[in-house]
Subunit: 389 residues, 2 copies
């Protein structure tokens, strides 16, 4: 894997990540394909909306259908028929947010699955790497410990130290089992303490990784704190390596983090919001079931080139949504991802011509009414209880 910064605008960077499965223009947004599919979409759909890379969840695929099965069938790319790059997370976040009966030890984390009737599993740094090798991920991550918010300084320090020790073991496991070209990113933890984040950067970079992920954000902290700490952490990272902010976020979060020097993002928001009828548009958010759209013959967004906006009206989408028709989840997912990936393309173009700050302000103005102070996004695309799938 190689990464090159091609342009900069302030601390925002525009670059290119080259993987064994193709190129990713950064800043990039990765649609979340938790269980080996971006919910409701095919790989052809992903190409159509402009995705260059997708994320898959180690935890989910380990439990079902199992990484060995996927390996035996030729790896995750072939299994899900996506021939572009795949980034996998470490599974740590999902163990924390989804599994029951977690017991943390130096060896790893013992948990009961949210599936299979509560069978007990032990996820170690070595197993997490083995799973991601079996999947054939282009970019993998070491098992990390995830902190809730708020966490005390002592908890944050102990957690980051364990994450660094686990990263060392993951590094060794990766050195043994990786296929040429497979990259491994280090995860920087440290809670909401700026000095601990800097210490985490130092210790993680000392181990040496192909890129660096900023973990433990979007866990309920105030938005301003996240933006500030992301920028400070990114600044401390080596310029030449790609930086990935895990699980973030809203359009405003994306532009603010890009301003801080982040290159890669993933988030369930555009896809999950689609399934609950919440739509991103160039004029701000829109709730498709709103009565005002009952007789609205216009598209969701006149600026948008997606299939839904080219072919059907708000009134039709509202009808399908109220009727709980499967078609609507795909149409709104196509739309929301088209919006997100279009925004990333705008960001890249703006950085290249030195107009990024103006774009950032415009995104804030468009989405101002829609920014809650905090953002908490469950890692992995599990359907919420009220959802159709």
């Amino acid at each position: 894997m190689t990464f090159a910064v091609l342009a900069r605008d302030g601390t925002a960077r525009q670059g290119r990540l080259t993987t064994p499965h193709g190129v990713v223009d950064t800043p990039a947004f990765m649609p979340v394909g938790t269980q080996g599919t971006v919910k409701s979409l095919t790989p052809a759909d992903l190409r159509e909306v402009g995705a260059q890379i997708v994320l898959a969840n180690t935890y989910h695929l380990l439990l079902r259908p199992g990484h060995r099965l996927i390996r035996d069938l030729g790896g995750l790319h072939r299994f899900m028929a996506w021939d572009g790059p795949i980034l996998t997370d470490s599974g740590g976040y999902q163990v924390w947010s989804l599994a029951a009966l977690r017991a943390l030890g130096e060896e790893g984390v013992r948990f009961r699955s949210h599936l299979d009737g509560g069978a007990e599993h032990l996820l170690t740094p070595e197993l997490a790497v083995e799973v991601q090798h079996a999947l054939g991920a282009d970019v993998l991550h070491p098992l990390d410990e995830c902190l809730p918010y708020p966490a005390s300084r002592e908890e944050a320090q102990a957690s980051l130290e364990r994450t660094v020790r686990w990263a060392r073991r993951a590094r060794a496991a990766h050195a043994q089992g990786a296929v040429p070209g497979q990259a491994c990113f280090g995860i920087v933890q440290g809670g909401m303490y700026a000095d601990l984040r800097r210490a985490a950067v130092e210790a993680t970079c000392a181990l040496g990784f192909d890129g660096y992920a900023l973990g433990g954000f979007a866990v309920g902290e105030p938005r301003g704190l996240m933006v500030e700490l992301v920028a400070a952490t990114a600044e401390a990272l080596p310029w030449a390596a790609p930086r990935y902010l895990m699980g973030v976020g809203r359009p405003t979060d994306l532009v603010d983090a890009v301003a801080g020097g982040v290159d890669l993002f993933d988030c369930v928001l555009p896809t999950r919001h689609a399934r609950t009828g919440q739509v991103f548009t160039s004029r701000g958010p829109l709730v498709v079931k709103h009565a005002a759209f009952a007789r609205d013959g216009g598209p969701l967004d006149e600026q948008c080139p997606c299939y839904a906006c080219r072919h059907v009206s708000r009134a039709y989408l509202r009808h399908l949504f109220l009727a709980r028709e499967l078609t609507v989840y795909r149409l709104l997912t196509l739309h929301n991802l088209t919006y997100y990936l279009g925004l990333m393309a705008e960001i890249r173009a703006a950085i290249r011509v030195g107009a990024f700050e103006a774009l950032r302000r415009a995104v804030h103005e468009t989405h101002v009414s829609a920014i809650p102070e905090t953002l908490t996004v469950l890692g992995g695309e599990l359907p919420a209880p009220e959802e159709p799938s």
Copy 2:
């Protein structure tokens, strides 16, 4: 609308229906788009699987979103973005199978909706036509009375007579309100009594319609009785008019009815079965969640040109199905419709070269293990309770 029989093979016919929205090669299968969408698919998908015409349900669209709303937004073709032909049923079957508190009178049928908290509605022959005009259907149907099976001779006779009286009123309403090119088919009822079917044919043809629908089949009667009575009824109909067997059926039913001279079909089976993981293949039926497919890297059907068969394995589809991933419902729907529409293309080709009987036998051999004695298919594509949507 025009119809031409282009070839025959025994009593099987190959023809062409020309509507204001395009041509339909017959025998044809119409995917069911109950609420203004074929569940999980877009119009682009429908074109990809080879659909030339779709069915929409008058009852469902009357209740939600309402036919006037659809008319005001430019009609159903524009609303659902399908520019091919649309055939609508009369609503009669759904009133019988879905609505509560039905009160039948000469005026029409009074019912409480299965939606909107049980509001009372009166569906008359005139309103059924008005709704279908508002939708802009290419082919519409008069309100008919639907009988359960079994029904006494007296019930069947009274029912067919009422259906004929309503057909006369529908004919008059259609003559007043139709747009040029809009066709209206008469519905032949008569229960499972051959002489009543013949009487219904005579009375309905005396009124004069653009085509004839065989209603009241696939309501629980033995399969052999249906096949026999469909053929006898079709034989009594005018050669030059298209014949449509409503709500039928399985692949074996299709070939048997084609042998009897039927030109048009609709059925929820391929789409509903897709959502419950039941797949049609050139080697017979297949249940996708079967444990035997857990590590099966092959396609559903090696003969099949659909997106799923070209890209993903049985193991992957099984995984998605067990994980209740939205993507799988679309993939299996694409597959099943590709199978059905491919079968219709084979049927047309076989009739043209005089090889239809051999094809009919082959379809029976392939699907022999999968033919239950009776078939009951609820009209309209409502999800079954255990289904994801």
